[in-house]
């Protein structure tokens, strides 16, 4: 298979550095002005980048796990996105140093006067929290390291045994991924309201993560294809598959979100409902309603017809839309703990600079060192020939 050796232009990285710089400035100033607000905004950014990083890793693993061929030409995009994972070690630091601003349960005097927090203390305490943070990032990093190492090696060696190795890795990764992702979601976001609990929370975050990552992969792949960085043999059928997967996982997100809501709504127990009550008063109800329409109703109706999913232009627009929807979803999950009514100031704009900027930097760095297409993969030919 002929590989396309058209290098990614520098301006991607340059634009990335510029955006990241602006984002970083906003974050730093925001921390200096109001540490608590800065910390919550930064948690929002961190969870978004975690979504993108582990989502990319999960899609890579998913391809090996189910033996998909059509997604092979896009796999490098997922791997590049997973390149955010090593950065999480640094990105998590500001959160570790502002734990007291974020989490109510980190205050010993609050725990001492609260029987519920006291009972939850064996799980919600600083030491165990740190162990879990390290565990999650370590698991993601190790699998990222081995997956990409094998994949990269295959570009030159063309050895099918490496694919088999990655299949084995993906089998081990699948359960660990769900455990670590649930832990991350529960620790960083659910424990913001330590009295509240929802057993479906991890799945909810997973659904949003996959939707967001698929959207980014779709956007980048279409952009690369339009500018001639991917094989011209790549037809609409592969992009249609991406669009279908995006559509499917978005319905999954709606299904999970509704499952969580209807149980709490029906049981009507104050210890569970207050989490939704917080999101239904003082202006938050507009955000909640907006989330329902932006994340589910509108994309559902737009992505439903086949013609939209085979049209690269509409698909590209919808993928940007879905990334924004996931940002809104995370905002809705995190920020009500910080403020009784929705806040949107210059502090909140940080994510729109920092996150895309960082993704561009990582992508540019990776693309300058590796092939954009896994040229050694034995399934690549089948992937390029894929027709519906």
């Amino acid at each position: 298979m002929e590989s396309i050796n058209k290098p990614i232009p520098d301006k991607i990285s340059k634009l990335g550095y510029l955006l990241t710089g602006i984002g970083l400035l906003i974050i730093v100033v925001s921390f200096l002005v109001d540490k608590q607000r800065g910390a919550f905004d930064y948690l929002w950014i961190y969870m978004f980048l975690t979504s993108v990083g582990i989502g990319g890793l999960a899609l890579t693993a998913l391809e090996y796990l189910v033996g998909a061929t059509w997604s092979v030409p896009f796999r490098r995009v997922c791997e590049f996105l997973a390149g955010i994972i090593p950065l999480l070690v640094i990105l998590v630091m500001p959160l570790i140093f502002s734990m007291h601003d974020l989490f109510h349960w980190t205050h010993p005097e609050a725990v001492a006067n609260d029987p519920i927090l006291k009972a939850k203390a064996p799980y919600l305490n600083m030491n165990f929290f740190m162990i879990r943070v390290v565990f999650c990032i370590l698991v993601w990093f190790l699998f990222y390291y081995f997956f990409t190492k094998n994949s990269k090696k295959q570009d030159t060696s063309k050895d099918p045994a490496l694919t088999r190795k990655n299949i084995k890795l993906s089998v081990a990764f699948a359960p660990l991924f769900f455990i670590s992702l649930s832990i991350a979601a529960i620790d960083w976001m659910m424990s913001l309201e330590p009295h509240w609990f929802s057993t479906i929370y991890g799945v909810y975050y997973f659904a949003g993560t996959i939707v967001c990552t698929l959207a980014i992969v779709t956007f980048i792949s279409i952009h690369l294809k339009e500018n001639g960085y991917l094989s011209p043999r790549l037809g609409n059928d592969q992009f249609y598959s991406l669009g279908t997967l995006l559509f499917g996982f978005n319905i999954f997100w709606g299904y999970i979100a509704f499952s969580q809501y209807i149980l709490i709504w029906y049981a009507d127990i104050p210890e569970e409902t207050y989490w939704y009550m917080m999101r239904w008063h003082n202006g938050w109800q507009y955000v909640s309603m907006g989330l329902l329409f932006i994340h589910f109703v509108i994309p559902f109706l737009v992505l439903l017809p086949r013609s939209v999913k085979v049209n690269l232009k509409t698909l590209k627009i919808m993928s940007i839309w879905m990334v924004f929807a996931h940002m809104l979803d995370l905002y809705w999950l995190i920020m009500p703990t910080y403020s009784k009514s929705p806040v949107l100031g210059w502090q909140e704009l940080g994510i729109f600079f920092f996150a895309p900027g960082l993704i561009m930097i990582v992508f540019g760095m990776k693309a300058s060192k590796e092939n954009l297409t896994p040229v050694g993969d034995p399934k690549l030919e089948a992937g390029l020939n894929f027709t519906l």
Partner: protein
């Protein structure tokens, strides 16, 4: 075995009388690549009324045939909309208007609880509409067979080879030209398929009287048979859980006793255990009041009296003896137990009324035991005292 079946097939195929009206020209190909190539060539040549027949789905065939987007999506979408509308109207009518019930403090009609049903009905109706739509619109239901059936062509196209058939409806159809074209793209065993006689002459066999009668007979037999069978089937107890046992039921036959009845009169001159004959029936109040209350007034007897009072007396006299139960105005009004007359009665008088009844009040001797009647007397005294409490009663 396979050869036998194929041979039988061939014999059957020749049995179908064919007319002289051409349905299509069909050709067979040996490999998927050949058929894909042929399909592409056929659509390139400008034919659009043709179809490809393969034993299994071939990826990429849609593109090769230049198939246009079908309307199935729109059809399914409308079916789904129908489903969601049916669900909303059904629940809106049932729980919002016709049979309002408060469940868990929720509004009569609420969208959240209806969403699962909307979801289910959307999918159900979409599925059903698509299946029936396929039968009616795509398979053209009154027509029960396709002219390509029972041909040599279809025998192979559905087992080991791949086929393409260009239909006579096509604008540029010409038997000889099509034959030459198909031979040109590598088609083998080129065959001209004619309509079977019955397809053009008769109306569809579905509308034949015999068939419709058959349907009616089947429907009637199934309905009656089902009705009869279900009547029997539901009466079969897989486990009887001791429903049937050797036991003497009241007012039935029993072989245990000589007279064959399950219920027997007590032996003359005996009394049941715990039964105390009451010999003051019909005596004047002045005599009855001499009866003394054998049940002491204490916490236990009051508690017992309260329980029995609430069960047997309160439906008429009210929970606090004021005669204010819900029987008021629906029945001769029950009297209050706080009147001066009742307060001044001795315990024996109250006991006598309970035992023998008074005016419309029947005797309660059968329902309430002797000791419990005395306990009720104690409780009535408590109610009376509470109603007419003195200052000295206050702590």
């Amino acid at each position: 075995m396979l050869k036998k079946i194929l041979k039988l097939d061939e014999e059957l195929a020749q049995d179908v009388p064919r007319s002289h009206k051409v349905h299509s020209v069909a050709a067979l190909f040996d490999t998927p690549d050949e058929i894909t190539h042929a399909a592409r060539e056929t659509s390139n040549a400008g034919y659009d009324k043709f179809d490809v027949y393969t034993p299994y789905p071939l990826h990429g065939m849609d593109a090769a045939m230049r198939m246009k987007d079908t309307n199935i999506g729109k059809f399914a979408f409308l079916a789904g909309l129908t489903g969601i509308t049916v669900a909303v109207s059904m629940i809106g009518w049932m729980s919002g208007i016709d049979y309002q019930n408060i469940i868990g403090g929720k509004p009569y009609f609420n969208l959240t609880a209806s969403i699962p049903i909307m979801f289910e009905l959307t999918i159900l109706l979409t599925g059903l509409f698509c299946v029936f739509g396929m039968l009616l619109l795509w398979n053209k239901l009154p027509q029960i067979s396709n002219p390509l059936h029972d041909t040599n062509f279809m025998k192979y196209a559905s087992s080991t080879r791949f086929g393409v058939a260009i239909e006579a409806e096509d604008a540029q159809f010409d038997v000889e030209k099509v034959k030459a074209f198909l031979a040109g793209v590598g088609g083998k065993d080129i065959e001209v398929v004619y309509y079977p006689e019955e397809n053009i002459q008769k109306t569809s066999p579905i509308f034949e009287k015999k068939f419709i009668y058959l349907l009616i007979v089947v429907a009637v037999v199934t309905a009656l048979g089902g009705y009869g069978a279900i009547g029997k089937l539901v009466n079969i107890l897989p486990f009887d859980w001791m429903h049937n046992q050797f036991r003497v039921n009241p007012q039935t036959r029993s072989d245990i006793f000589k007279d064959g009845r399950s219920m027997q009169r007590p032996v003359d001159g005996t009394v049941a255990r715990g039964f105390m004959p009451y010999e003051y029936t019909g005596m004047p109040d002045s005599l009855v009041k001499l009866l003394s209350n054998p049940v002491p007034m204490n916490e236990f007897s009051i508690e017992r009296g309260k329980k029995q009072y609430n069960t047997y007396c309160s439906p008429c006299h009210g929970y606090f003896g004021a005669g204010d139960s819900r029987m008021n105005n629906q029945f001769p009004n029950p009297p209050t137990l706080h009147s001066k007359k009742v307060r001044d009665w001795a315990d024996g008088n109250i006991y006598n009324v309970m035992t023998n009844g008074q005016n419309v009040m029947p005797s309660y001797a059968k329902q309430i035991s002797r000791d419990d009647r005395w306990a009720i007397v104690n409780y009535i005294r408590v109610l009376q005292r509470a109603e007419n409490a003195k200052d000295t009663d206050l702590p």
